[in-house]
Symmetry: D2
Subunit: 287 residues, 4 copies
């Protein structure tokens, strides 16, 4: 029940004195209790300021829409803020796209079932039918949308149709198809992909083979927001594992699966808890 | 020059609504610009609240002492706060105690020389004379205070005499003598020790041998504040390294030296930047 | 098919010159092809020597039993070796004991299904019935053996009965009951447990709470062979994760689940591939 | 004294049965005691085989040159081996090239002084004179060889002259000049460089700024052998550290220094102990 009343305020604006005071006093004056506060300034003089506040609203003296309107007028305009308030309820809807690899999918479903992801999973879409049974066993709708290379548009249209109104977040959990720029543009900063390398190293196809050929001693995985340019969106999270000459390409893939599922799960969790702000092509993550 | 005006406000108090608003508005009203703010609540309902603000004072409209007095009356009393303001200038004075191992000492001296530790190193004290030359080469006074097991009191008296007025912080950089409770009580939460194990495992003597005998696969080092009970003070920082059956006790010591110097350096840095608060026997580190 | 012919020779003996030559020449003379070789000496002079060879037997010129007999006579006696040859086929049988936590169990089942564990999983036994459905979905027999505190002997008798002939390895995947010394003695060095702390720190109950109370900055998990003394058996593998004051006990448990499943999976994998030798209460792991 | 008799045999050849047997029996027959043995096969069928043996020679029944000649005739030819024997005594000579950054240099000097590097450091060469005093304090010759952009050839000639006969290994400990292809070709696989990024990401100049701009969450350092193509030689060792949006470029550089000195020190140590073999553009490191 406590969670029902949680909201998060995300702010970015030019840094200058008085921001924390103005924001916190405004919220306090409306009966709001701040439970988490994190801020970051790229430079106190002439830099950019970022802030995330989590607060509870059971004793708020006005409606959410009134609070938002007042905040805009009283605080945001004065400081030239980009801002939004996100409410924990109703929960965000997440759609997962997957191909045949199941590890990243299972991790998300398992965490979700244990109540560790603040979302409803609205559907799983796959270009293969292999994972239908385990997904449906979780009580989640599974849609098989085959991709015909000769007619990718038709598949994408079907995906768009399925997502429409059912996805605040789209997660590519090792979905082995490239989304069109048009589809990407429908979900700006709301599509998270897991790439199986330590980006920007080894962008593109078959990164574990690239890593093996190069003889690196550490491999990685990268969760990032999807933008039109392939593998170039803002990085949310990365992690790495040590490897040696003893690891074959197959071994790297096995090790990498562990990295991929954990890195993706963390990125999705932070997105759902509104912990991620964007600063150009970089992310600020208030974890 | 910018650094000269830096101050930090550290607060702990029972958590309740309005703290951030009260503190930030007070500072803003006095022309103070908050450049860093971190907070932590153990529980928004009935828990404890901790806060660290770093701010710049060039445009402050009152003197430091007036600001402190006003803060106490206007804010601190109302919320039942434990608090203190620490100023970056004058810099804290640090005394380092060492025996024969040089790695942790060198790390501190090297960081200090590169301007990475916000302190003046007032002296190095050792129960051996071995490290005199390298210490003096840094332009730092070196005091050889031998410890006669039959008369430890005399040595301690000499140390107390040397430290008197010259040490805001005492760092035990692998000082192989146990300080008396009386000496410890003179520097509450101002003595940092590096212990060469992953405390609370392997407290006491010869931890690398203990770790080797036990066959652990990970070794560690722990920086902690010194309290009367040996190796039991609040942990500031820990780090670990993987080991295998191939590592001899000597190998563990070599690996451990790397951990020790880094862990100690981080703890000392955080202490000097007033990033550490205490919560019972635990630390809150706003890094 | 290649895997069908794999065997591993594990040796421990006093170190002295000529061991590698004698062993490798013996195997070569019988048409055996060594594909992996690892050795470790605690000290070339007066120390102990450990060796693991993996070899393929398609062109072996004698039967397995003849080879073993000859090895004993020709090589092992001469060097005073403890040794055994383990064959990849038939695969070892593994029984998993579990309570209500599913993470370590799922990890093992998922790896097994992907062909990453060289074993047949003969059964899962639990003192609760909760995990029956997912286990049976994997096609693995599930046995619910409730534990009545007033009559633990009856439960253990039932477990012994189930395991009899069906378990070369017993894995305690967060099984929350303490096995009797009698049961442990039936499976010397063939029961692997996952303990949710960085042993020897925080042995016993509720280690995450102990870790939280102590304010450690790193938590860990430990996979070890079970011996009669609780949490004191030879450590096979450990891993750790960094934590801060922000982590609640519940957060530590979440983080810890990740460690536990990975650490246990690695230990089980190495055991099944005969990569672990014992040296007193320590392990030699040729990974 | 024990160390004086240590030698290492490094082998690479096509994999086929009988190699271990032939090599170990040959050595044993000449009174040589193998103290370490590591091997690696890229594929037992049709792959490449690599082996490192460390052995002690006090009871060897022939001279080193006779042993080598016999090994070539009796063993190496039969298996088509590339091989060499390297003797711990006389110790290899190492020359260090450095510019103004001191961290990697100090780490090497400190480890060397503690006896952890099996080498004599014959000289330090720098294009600046800044580090003369600390280097000479270690009793090591320091040569200031300024680099005039208009006449780089003259500087290189001077360096070549200094190195001639005095360097089995050349270490670039953050030497900020690019060596000519001609100089590189004089020391094939005997020049080790530390690059301050996780190669192949961020090759070239100012990698910490590149990493910061890209918003990566992990930074790294890479030790590699120098080849003509810049930053493209075989990778010996890498390590990484986690970073967040809070780290400025300057912070990355500070963190990076820790990585650089450790990664370089490990690579140098392994080279000096003859633990590194080359396999195309990759390294096999028998650590």
């Amino acid at each position: 029940m406590k969670n029902d009343n949680i909201a998060r305020l995300l702010i970015s604006c030019p840094d200058r004195p008085g921001i924390v005071s103005a924001v916190s006093s405004f919220l306090y004056s409306h009966g709001v209790n701040i439970t988490e506060l994190a801020q970051h300034s790229t430079d106190p003089e002439g830099g950019d300021f970022f802030m995330r506040l989590e607060f509870q609203t059971p004793y708020m003296d006005v409606s959410a829409s009134t609070l938002e309107k007042a905040f805009d007028e009283v605080v945001a305009e004065r400081f030239g803020m980009n801002w939004r308030i996100s409410y924990a309820k109703p929960r965000k809807k997440t759609a997962i796209l997957v191909s045949k690899f199941d590890h990243a999918l299972y991790e998300l479903l398992w965490l979700w079932k244990r109540g560790k992801l603040q979302t409803d999973i609205s559907m799983v879409i796959s270009n293969h039918d292999d994972l239908r049974a385990p997904v449906e066993a979780f009580g989640i709708p599974f849609h098989h949308v085959p991709v015909d290379p000769a007619n990718k548009e038709a598949s994408e249209e079907r995906i768009v149709e399925l997502l429409e109104g059912n996805a605040d977040l789209v997660v590519l959990a090792r979905y082995m198809q490239i989304l069109s720029g048009e589809l990407v543009s429908r979900y700006p900063r709301r599509i998270i992909n897991i790439h199986h390398s330590f980006l920007p190293a080894f962008a593109g196809a078959d990164p574990y083979r690239q890593a093996h050929d190069k003889g690196v001693k550490v491999i990685g995985a990268t969760a990032h927001y999807v933008v039109e340019e392939l593998d170039a969106g803002p990085i949310i999270e990365q992690d790495v594992a040590r490897v040696t000459h003893r690891h074959s390409v197959e071994d790297l893939k096995d090790l990498g699966r562990d990295l991929e599922r954990q890195v993706l799960a963390r990125a999705v969790k932070w997105h759902l808890e509104d912990r991620i702000l964007l600063y150009g092509n970089r992310t600020i993550v208030f974890k």
